[in-house]
C-alpha cells in the first residue's frame, strides 16, 4: 500500500462529526458571486504567526499575497506540488482569471487557512474558530467558498 492509499484508508476510519439539519444556501449567480478560498494546508504569510502542532486557529491571507509558508505538521502528503505552484492547493491565480473572464463575479479580499490535522472531535473549529472565520468572510461580502484540503 503506498503512502496516499494508507492515508486515505486511515482517514476513512476516523470518527465523522454529524450535522443535524445541515444548512443549505442557495447562492447568487456565479457570475455575480464574490468567491473566497478556505484551505486546510496551514498556509500563512511571511511575518504572520506560524501554526503550532494541533493548532485549531486560522490565518487570514490577503488577496495579493503569494509569499506563503506551508505550516502543516503532517509529513504524510506531498509538499512539493505547492512549492512548484501555489495554485495546486491555493488556486488564487485561477480565481483571478475566472473573475477577469466574468465566470465568477469577483475574488474576495481575504482568504482563510486552517491546519488540517485537527483533534478528532473538532469541537473548537466547530464552535469557535470556524464560525469566527466565516464571520470574517461575511464581513467581506463573500458569497461562495471553495474548500481545498491537503
Amino acid at each position: 500500500m503506498n503512502g496516499d492509499q494508507m492515508m486515505r484508508a486511515r482517514a476513512a476510519t476516523l470518527p465523522a462529526p454529524q450535522f443535524d439539519n445541515p444548512a443549505w444556501v442557495t447562492p447568487v449567480a456565479l457570475g455575480d458571486a464574490k468567491v473566497a478560498i478556505v484551505t486546510s494546508a496551514a498556509l500563512y504569510v511571511v511575518g504572520d504567526n506560524s501554526f503550532t502542532a494541533g493548532d485549531t486557529g486560522y490565518r487570514l491571507i490577503d488577496r495579493d499575497r503569494r509569499d506563503l509558508i506551508l505550516g502543516h505538521w503532517s509529513p504524510n502528503f506531498d509538499q512539493m506540488g505547492i512549492k512548484m505552484d501555489l495554485n495546486v492547493v491555493y488556486p488564487i491565480d485561477r480565481l483571478e482569471e475566472l473573475a477577469a473572464q466574468g465566470v465568477i463575479g469577483s475574488v474576495a479580499p481575504r482568504h482563510v487557512s486552517f491546519a488540517g490535522n485537527q483533534p478528532d472531535d473538532v469541537s473548537t473549529i466547530r464552535l469557535d474558530t470556524g464560525p469566527s472565520a466565516a464571520a470574517q468572510l461575511r464581513q467581506d461580502g463573500v458569497d461562495v467558498v471553495i474548500l481545498t484540503p491537503v
Binding site: 458571486a33 512539493m80 482569471e97 471553495i146
Partner: protein, 230 residues
C-alpha cells in the same frame, strides 16, 4: 474540509469542497463536494497546469447550480501518486571527515539559496535555519548511531520540527536541480527517503528513538506513516 463546509454554510455562505477522501465526504456529507482522486497535497491535481486546474474549479462551481443536496460528484480523472524517486543529482562527497549526511547537506546549500531567491520564500525555519541543517543532521546521525536522544541537543527541543526543516531544505533545494515537468506526488518524498543520506539518517534516528522508548507521536511523525520502521 467537509466539517468546515457545514460551518460556513450555516453562516450563510455557499460552499463547494474539493474532497480528497471519498469516505469522509460520504460520512460528513457537506452540501456540495467534488471528489478529486488526486495525490494528497494536490487538490487541484497538477502543478503548473492552468487548463486542468481551471477545469477542476469549473466542475466544482457547477455544483452550485444544484437545487438540493448533499451532492457528491467524482472528477472523471484519477491521478495516482508517483512511486518512483525523482531523478535528482546528489552532491558528491567533499569532506570525508564528516558524516555523509552532513557533507551532503552542505553540498546542497547553494541550491537551496537559489530556490529561496527565486521563490522569495522558504518553509524551512520552524526551528532551524537553512545554515543550521548540517548541524541538525549531525545530531540525528549521532542518535541513529547510539547517542541517547534524551541528552542530545535537539534544536528547539522538537525533533518533529527538525525533521520537517531538514526534509523541506532538501526538497526545496532539489527544485533547483531537476529539469522537465513537475514530479508526481510522492516522487520527491521518495527521493529524499530512499536515495539521500539525510533521509536514511532521519529514518535511522526515528528507529533508534522508537527502540529507546520515545513516545509514539514523537518518533512516528519524524517521517511519513508508510516509511519503514523495522
Amino acid at each position: 474540509m467537509s466539517v468546515l463546509a457545514h460551518i460556513f454554510e450555516a453562516a450563510g455562505i455557499a460552499t463547494v469542497v474539493l474532497s480528497s477522501v471519498r469516505e469522509v465526504a460520504q460520512k460528513v456529507s457537506p452540501p456540495r463536494a467534488l471528489h478529486c482522486e488526486f495525490p494528497l497535497g494536490r487538490p487541484l491535481g497538477i502543478p503548473n497546469d492552468i487548463e486542468f486546474q481551471t477545469d477542476v474549479l469549473v466542475r466544482a462551481f457547477a455544483l452550485l447550480n444544484e437545487q438540493s443536496g448533499p451532492v457528491l460528484v467524482d472528477h472523471p480523472v484519477v491521478i495516482e501518486a508517483d512511486e518512483q524517486p525523482v531523478s535528482c543529482a546528489i552532491p558528491p562527497r567533499f569532506d570525508a571527515s564528516l558524516p555523509p549526511c552532513v557533507d551532503e547537506a552542505r553540498g546542497l546549500r547553494k541550491a537551496h539559496q537559489r530556490a529561496f531567491e527565486r521563490r522569495g520564500v522558504t518553509s524551512v525555519g520552524r526551528v532551524i535555519t537553512p545554515d543550521e541543517v548540517p548541524n541538525a543532521l549531525a545530531i540525528l546521525h549521532a542518535i541513529a548511531n547510539g547517542q541517547d536522544w534524551t541528552t542530545a541537543e535537539i534544536p528547539g527541543g522538537n525533533v518533529i520540527s527538525v525533521c520537517h526543516d531538514i526534509r523541506t531544505y532538501y526538497e526545496e533545494a532539489a527544485l533547483e536541480l531537476i529539469n522537465g515537468p513537475a514530479p508526481g506526488g510522492r516522487a520527491m518524498e521518495n527521493w529524499f527517503f530512499e536515495t539521500t543520506e539525510a533521509g536514511a539518517t532521519v529514518l535511522g534516528a526515528r528507529r533508534a528513538m522508537r527502540d529507546a522508548g520515545a513516545m509514539f507521536p514523537l518518533w512516528f511523525y519524524m517521517a511519513p506513516a508508510n516509511r519503514d520502521s523495522a
